[in-house]
């Protein structure tokens, strides 16, 4: 090769670690493949996202990996990148249904995960002698949050649990989640399990339970996974983590655009399942392999 | 007692420029113990600038400031600024006590503070001392604020008192009381006082010597006032001398329909082209003014005139009816501080004449007005804050010149204006009247009213109407008696 390819990663925001881990995956893989790497942030604004894509093209990047602000924000972006003949892969959040002019979409299967996590949360509640569950949710303006919720609700219903309260965060911080978990437990003292839809929600719920002496007496499940929640899982403050492979999504998406640049065959839709890891299994080799694809070690 | 010749504070060859404007070009000035020293000069001569340099308020460009004191140490200096320096959100007591606590980490004792403030105020105005200690400064009228400020300066126990137009906001009675206090202070403690004023009568009443600055230089240096005639002084200030021929009294047309001012105690017909003076402390006149300028929705006065409502509902209504208004409180009620001179001058025209667009001809219009008033400014794009007080005042009057107005309300329009300018303003007011505009004019300077008005409506200190003086009964003592301001 005479010329090095450049891949750009466009993150929706810097609010949560998750997108930084995806970035890490993209960067890692780009290095392995001998590509240059640049990154942009859209600050949750679709206009900024579009501007980022245009700047990337101006700068001469060859491929784009993107976590879009929302699925619906993608059509003009895809049209533009297609016109510029830049291969694009999604990581974390996919394109709007019906779109086809992209290379690949690597996402978690949020609906299936919602089902599984709902089922497991309900089990935890029943083990603890109740059927009321609470939820600390991502903002419901996000597609993935809506899918998680849909799956979880179906699972609760199917398994005989009652979702007595769902609180959405705005700031995605542990501090906010602690306050919400406290409020949830005050309003609904009979809640026996809490479904945390994002990593900080799990940490927050565990913290609130610890200060009330309820650790283990109220079950906690969490999606995403991080060093913090893994520690909490080991300590028994959380009963299960549904790992979302942030780094893995970055790696896979980068691999797909690289293949497209090389003219190799690509896979358009990759919906990754989110494996559940319980406290007992956290030190297993299988779990370690999963975690390696979750956050940078 | 004191060494009467001891220089307490002096400046040599003081220089100061603002941008390209050289304000002070080498001023000399000395304050001595036991002296009341008049500092004179036209508007913009640099008096306030010099005073503020002496107290460290602004930096000098060049020159020397020398301090001496009969007590050996640096003299304590107290200053009354031309523009009121009261902290609006604090109480009167606190405003006075503030200057006594110079260390930040001292604890405020409310009782002590009130006592201090009370004693300071009682010296000048026992009534105010009893009623106003806990009022916010923002709620004070301008002349109450002025008294508080003077009281504060006196309470410091300074060796040098710098009073920059302290009487501009005072009534004759209040001025009398202030002078008595100042004379006693000088006699008993031997301090030095610098007094700035544009009122010749007051200067002669109070001061021993005078210094005159003009074009940034000292032209008269600490000369006894007795050795100078009024004409000498004005000449040195570069002001036109008093006119030999008093304006012949113009007669206004008694037949021409004007309007009728109706109050609880009096019904006063005013004729077209008449100048009606309002005399007395603010309580009474302010009611009439509020009625006329549209801010007195609950004023006890009302109007009776063909085609006019009983009360203009708002200033806009008043302007639409053809009522102009000029206040001496230029900072709050007058200038548009951040707009250039041209907008300041034309704002009223645009409203009154419903000009929807800013016309190119307005620049010419503004230049003419500014020129006609001999307004001292660099450019019509300058901001009013760069003008001296008197020039700002002219700006406000310029707003209403040459417009078809039915009535103009002047609220102490010559406050802080130098003698020459004052004459210009009198002329302007006369000319407005001659063109048929009714002039209602409140002044605390009775001499001024007597010189200019056709009739004077006098109020006592509680705001009650004391009577209407027709021109043929004009007499200084009678007016002083009526307004309760007899010396």
């Amino acid at each position: 090769e005479d010329k090095k390819f450049t891949v750009a990663y466009i993150a929706p925001s810097l609010d949560i670690d998750y997108w930084q881990w995806v970035a890490h995956g993209v960067q890692q893989k780009a290095k392995d493949l001998g590509m240059n790497y640049v990154e942009y942030t859209s600050e949750n604004s679709p206009a900024k996202q579009m501007d980022n894509a245009r700047v990337a093209v101006t700068r001469g990047v060859n491929a784009v990996v993107i976590g879009p602000v929302s699925s619906t924000s993608t059509p003009p972006l895809l049209a533009y990148l297609a016109q510029q003949k830049v291969p694009v892969a999604f990581a974390g959040i996919g394109p709007q249904p019906g779109q086809t002019n992209y290379t690949s979409s690597v996402t978690a299967n949020n609906y299936e995960t919602g089902l599984a996590q709902g089922k497991y949360t309900c089990e935890l509640a029943k083990e603890r002698g109740g059927k009321e569950v609470g939820m600390l949710s991502l903002p419901q303006d996000r597609e993935n949050a809506q899918k998680y919720l849909k799956g979880a609700k179906e699972a609760f219903q199917a398994n005989g649990c009652e979702l007595v309260q769902m609180l959405e965060t705005k700031g995605l911080t542990i501090n906010e989640a602690v306050t919400q978990a406290n409020d949830l437990l005050t309003a609904h003292p009979n809640v026996k399990a809490i479904y945390g839809m994002y990593d900080q929600a799990g940490s927050g719920a565990a913290k609130a339970l610890a200060t009330r002496g309820l650790t283990g007496k109220v079950g906690v499940t969490v999606a995403d996974g991080s060093p913090t929640t893994i520690q909490l899982l080991k300590d028994g403050a959380i009963q299960g983590i549904f790992f979302q492979e942030a780094v893995g999504q970055g790696i896979d998406a980068t691999e797909q655009v690289y293949k497209a640049l090389k003219g190799e065959k690509t896979t358009q839709n990759m919906a990754l399942v989110m494996p559940l890891v319980k406290a007992a299994d956290i030190s297993s080799d299988a779990a370690k392999k999963v975690i390696a694809r979750v956050f940078p070690q | 007692m004191l060494d009467a010749d001891l220089p307490l504070l002096s400046v040599r060859n003081l220089q100061k420029s603002f941008g390209a404007t050289r304000v002070l070009r080498g001023v000399n000035f000395t304050v001595r113990a036991g002296q009341i020293h008049a500092l004179l000069g036209g508007n913009g001569a640099g008096k306030s600038t010099m005073i503020r340099i002496m107290t460290g308020g602004i930096r000098k460009d060049d020159g020397e400031i020398m301090l001496g004191s009969q007590r050996g140490a640096e003299p304590k200096i107290a200053i009354v600024h031309q523009e009121l320096a009261l902290v609006q959100d604090l109480s009167v007591a606190e405003n006075i006590a503030m200057v006594h606590a110079t260390a930040g980490l001292t604890i405020v004792r409310a009782g002590q503070r009130a006592e201090l403030a009370y004693n300071a105020l009682a010296l000048l105005d026992p009534h105010l001392a009893r009623s106003a200690l806990h009022r916010k400064a923002a709620d004070l009228s301008m002349h109450e604020g002025q008294i508080v400020e003077i009281a504060r300066a006196l309470s410091i126990g300074a060796d040098v008192l710098l009073l920059d137009e302290p009487t501009a906001n005072l009534t004759a009675g209040e001025t009398e009381r202030l002078f008595a206090v100042l004379r006693r202070l000088v006699r008993e403690t031997g301090i030095g006082i610098v007094f700035v004023s544009h009122r010749m009568k007051e200067i002669r009443q109070l001061c021993d010597v005078c210094t005159i600055i003009r074009d940034g230089l000292t032209v008269v240096d600490a000369t006894p006032l007795d050795s100078l005639t009024d004409n000498d002084i004005m000449q040195q200030m570069g002001q036109p001398g008093a006119r030999e021929v008093a304006h012949s009294r113009r007669r206004f047309d008694m037949a021409e329909a004007g309007l009728v001012l109706k109050g609880a105690e009096a019904v006063i017909p005013i004729h077209k082209g008449q100048i009606l003076g309002l005399a007395g402390s603010p309580a009474g006149p302010s009611q009439v003014i509020a009625l006329l300028n549209g801010t007195g929705r609950s004023s006890s006065w009302s109007l009776d005139a063909k085609g006019w409502p009983a009360r203009p509902a708002s200033p806009r209504d008043a302007v639409a009816l053809g009522i102009g208004y000029v206040s001496g409180d230029r900072r709050h009620k007058g200038v548009l501080a951040q707009l250039p001179i041209v907008d300041n001058v034309l704002a009223s025209r645009r409203v009154r004449e419903k000009r929807y667009m800013v016309r190119a001809s307005e620049r010419r219009e503004c230049l003419d007005l500014v020129h006609a008033l001999k307004l001292k400014a660099g450019s019509i794009r300058d901001l009013p804050s760069t003008l001296s007080g008197g020039n700002q005042q002219k700006l406000l009057i310029a707003r209403w010149l040459g417009m078809s107005l039915r009535l103009v309300v002047f609220e102490e329009p010559t406050r802080g204006v130098d003698i020459g300018t004052k004459r210009d303003i009198y002329d302007l007011i006369r000319r407005m009247a001659e063109e048929g505009t009714i002039v209602v004019w409140w002044s605390t300077e009775n001499v001024e009213l007597l010189e200019l008005c056709d009739e004077i409506l006098a109020f006592d200190t509680d705001g009650r109407v004391k009577g209407l003086l027709p021109h043929d009964r004009f007499n200084e003592d009678a007016l002083a008696d009526l307004t309760g301001m007899a010396a």
């Binding site: 604004s45 206009a47 924000s73 | 570069g238 501080a337 704002a347 929807y356 660099g378």
Partner: protein
């Protein structure tokens, strides 16, 4: 003595150039920034990148013009970002419910009109502080942006709606540029040459003096908030037409940027000063900085610092060039 020889020199009438001195300084700073970036990334000076910058700045330019008017009156408008977002949601929702492009856009503009009027009414009629009132409408409009679609982002299906932003009423000149030019020229004209425009400054400078001069203080301030809200809505429409998508969080970062643009443009937050040209240049400068940061490929974490420091340099230059 004759009084005439003591006449002061006649004040000068100023030149237009001197009136725009500080705007020129910002323009030069913008060019310097662009050239500086161009040294690292030559593509920064390409026509394509100029197009990027114009497109990226258009909503901010228009929003800043509205905010400028409020700031001239001595007020502040924190609600513009939320109005921007809500406008997009309402417009997209209206389209999704079968409204045509025009009627849906008018519904969107209605958001700014209504919220601007609420701001104006609470500030002038009730007498509440602008910061408080617009903080409240900021929160309410932001929350409504989620409520109207239950938090979902909405795509715009109408095939021609992009023409509003990128079509060319004047051939060769994309509409978004046309709108920016139009609004800037119109506002600059109003602010300088229309009596009511001068009232904004009067009210911001000395409300009491303005009131006594017969200037309709309340109406003027009211108008400022309505203009600000409506411009924010227009900016929102422009973005929807560009992205063909509406997002509840779309405008979140714009409010502080718009205020910063106005301030960089030379307006004082205490009111009474500022110009449309200045505000536009301020908005352009912010966009150029962000564009440069992206082009050079500065790590996202550093972007806030770089933007912040660039604004600091801009205001410092302005500060010292005025001394």
């Amino acid at each position: 003595m004759t009084s005439n020889d003591s006449l002061p020199p006649a004040p000068r009438a100023p030149s237009i150039l001197s009136a725009y001195r500080s705007e020129m300084a910002i323009a030069i700073a913008c060019i310097a920034l662009l050239v500086g970036v161009g040294i690292f990334v030559p593509a920064a000076l390409s026509a394509g990148n100029f197009a990027n910058i114009l497109q990226a700045s258009a909503p901010l330019v228009i929003m800043s013009l509205g905010v400028l008017v409020v700031i001239i009156t001595g007020g502040i408008d924190l609600s513009v970002g939320s109005i921007f977002s809500l406008t997009g949601m309402v417009t997209a929702l209206a389209m999704a419910n079968g409204f045509g492009d025009v009627s849906a856009s008018l519904a969107g503009l209605g958001v700014g009109l209504v919220f601007g009027s609420i701001n104006g009414a609470l500030i002038t009629l009730v007498g509440l502080a602008p910061f408080v009132v617009t903080l409240i409408t900021y929160a309410v409009a932001a929350s409504l942006a989620f409520i109207v679609t239950n938090g979902r982002s909405l795509g715009v299906d109408s095939p021609d709606y992009w023409l509003f932003n990128s079509g060319q009423i004047i051939p060769g000149l994309p509409n978004f540029v046309l709108f920016c030019l139009l609004f800037t020229v119109a506002l600059e004209f109003v602010l300088r040459k229309v009596t009511a425009g001068r009232w904004f400054y009067s009210v911001g400078s000395s409300p009491m003096a303005a009131y006594l001069l017969g200037i309709p203080v309340k109406r003027t301030r009211f108008a400022a908030y309505v203009i600000s809200g409506t411009m924010a809505s227009f900016a929102g429409l422009l973005t929807v037409s560009y992205i063909l998508n509406a997002e509840a969080t779309a405008g979140a970062s714009l409010m502080l940027q718009a205020i910063a643009a106005v301030v960089i443009g030379g307006a004082s937050l205490s009111g009474g000063s500022g110009s449309a040209v200045g505000a536009v240049l301020g908005a352009l400068m912010i966009t150029i900085i962000q564009n440069g940061v992206n082009l050079i490929g500065i790590n996202s974490f550093w972007q806030g610092s770089v933007t912040g420091l660039a604004i600091l340099v801009a205001v410092l230059i302005d500060r010292f060039s005025h001394r």
